[in-house]
Symmetry: C2
Subunit: 347 residues, 2 copies
């Protein structure tokens, strides 16, 4: 159209493939990857086209990190902790159990030295990482029976992976790896006793409230589920500067927008789940205390085994302590007052 900046003659066209860690049914998570690609295209007048693929289509879910590392695909869109088998330090990219919340994590990444530390670690894998989304605090999952104390976790077969699975193992539970489509029948038959998925908006689609009515909060192992796009280092270095700027800006935009989407969609979904019979519950104090203590022990163990983990952990922890001190003075003080006041007046 007249007045539109014409596509420059001679501008190179770049085509990338993005393998996501999500089935299309996770419409916000997959949708955010898709929105990222669309934005990059829009910002480059269609010269830099990235196509997002549902999980498993290009490479198996578990190989999303390796495939970027070896250049099979240019980039992915994943929860980095799905790849702690490759390097446990990727956990700092997603967030640790009882770690920083979404805002604090973003502060660490954007202005607290976090991105630099993560980049140094990923460089060893030939990867350049970008934060490109956040789910916020996830739920603790669906349980067939009430959890009255820590003792009820003994021998409990639960669908949970990553860091949560490592901590829960130490607490006596038995983590299970089960694909999303098998969660419902496994809970129905009692093959497993519990399953965590994401939060109200995504959980609702699986209908787990019908087979495991006890819905626990909070998902302490994912207090900030930060989403990552890992980019093959050579593919990144080959990009023209304006395409790099477009990619980075679009990632930052999705970090804001994915979190906003989940924050907007979770409240009505939770109301519908409770109306449909979900019994909302909080983990008992002794479970929370034991999980916190066990998590701290786990960080020491992981630091002993992995120099990358050992390098990032003290910096990350120091930043968290500063955030906690400040959030207790301002954010939490006002949140707690306002949430109580609004809650009272809206009853």
């Amino acid at each position: 159209a007249a007045g539109l900046p014409a596509v420059a003659q001679g501008t190179p066209s770049v085509r990338w493939r993005m393998s996501t860690g999500w089935p299309k049914s996770l419409d916000e998570m997959y949708g955010s990857a898709d929105a990222l690609c669309k934005r990059v295209s829009e910002l480059t007048e269609g010269k830099f086209e990235i196509r997002a693929f549902p999980g498993g289509e290009l490479v198996p879910y578990a190989q999303n990190m390796e495939a970027v590392s070896n250049g099979t695909i240019e980039c992915n869109h994943v929860l980095a902790t799905a790849h702690i088998g490759t390097n446990t330090a990727v956990a700092f990219d997603t967030g640790l159990s009882f770690g920083m919340n979404a805002r604090q994590h973003n502060a660490w990444v954007q202005r607290g030295g976090g991105l630099e530390l993560l980049r140094e670690m990923y460089k060893k894998h030939g990867i350049v990482n970008f934060v490109c989304g956040n789910v916020g605090v996830q739920m603790g999952g669906w349980f067939r029976k009430e959890i009255k104390s820590l003792a009820d976790l003994q021998g409990l077969k639960m669908r949970v992976g990553g860091i949560g699975g490592m901590v829960l193992t130490k607490l006596g539970a038995i983590p299970q790896q089960i694909p999303p489509g098998d969660i419902y029948p496994s809970l129905e038959k009692g093959t497993i006793d519990a399953a965590e998925w994401i939060g109200p908006y995504d959980d609702e689609k699986l209908g787990l409230n019908k087979v495991a009515p006890f819905y626990y909060s909070p998902g302490w192992w994912e207090g900030s589920a930060s989403i990552t796009t890992m980019v093959n280092e050579k593919a990144w270095n080959d990009l023209p500067a304006p395409f790099k700027a477009a990619f980075e800006t679009a990632c930052n935009e999705q970090t804001l927008r994915m979190n906003a989407a989940y924050d907007a969609l979770n409240p009505p979904a939770l109301r519908r789940l409770v109306a449909a019979g979900a019994k909302l519950n909080f983990f008992p104090k002794d479970v929370m205390d034991a999980a916190y203590k066990t998590s701290q022990e786990l960080w020491v163990e992981l630091a002993d085994k992995n120099p990358d983990f050992a390098k990032i952990y003290p910096e990350w922890r120091k930043f968290q302590e500063g955030q906690v001190a400040w959030f207790r003075v301002a954010e939490s003080a006002l949140d707690n007052f306002t949430f109580n006041a609004v809650s009272r007046s809206s009853k």
Copy 2:
């Protein structure tokens, strides 16, 4: 350089001026406006250049909204509540006292129908608005004497404007309008009893701890200080689509990055202030309760007087109630546990 997308022949060049509401000494706030402009330039290969100006250089601070409305300047970068004299409903753009926190506000704007409501209101002023930053919860300011109860606010002369000033007037205080450079001498001489500015990082530069040592939290009138760029509607409509995309994406990026910057910079600044003698305090419960109640009464009054306020308020409030219900289940539950646990172990 070879391989770079060449600037398209025939692409129109656009030059805009952005009048900010900040002196350059607010280096993060002004810096975010500047970063927004630089990013837009980078995304458009220098074809869309916006130049940010310190407050007062292009138009007086108080005329930033009017100047965009009448096309004197193409855009501004302000705290919208500085313009409640023009339309009280702009308060929903910045955030109300005891309103939503930064994440909740962004959820409302991005996915909760908030942007559409704000756009409809601003359209009457010939303005298209964009959220482009957030400071988070501000501090409640510096006081020469301790505030032990609500009675201590009677007759208290305080430098505070906007919504905070309206609520504090109802509580018996006497708001004062004083330019930043005059705050220190006014407090020193006792011409005023208290002054609010922003938060630890910016407050530190004014050195107010030396003349008004009682530092109060939280700044309940700015629980989410969301920053706005108002764009002249005609200037916006004249932009080519890729320039619109660049501007919008850069605003979303700064919404994330300004908040991250303040979250990263405030904790060490608060530590330094306390070490330098600031006496950190929380507003007494009766002050908080009275301020909350008075705020709710104020919304009813403002809705009675202004149809724009009346239209947005019930939608905004309904969204806040949903956010509060959900945040109490997940975010706050985990924040409160983790903050206590980390705080105990970091002592």
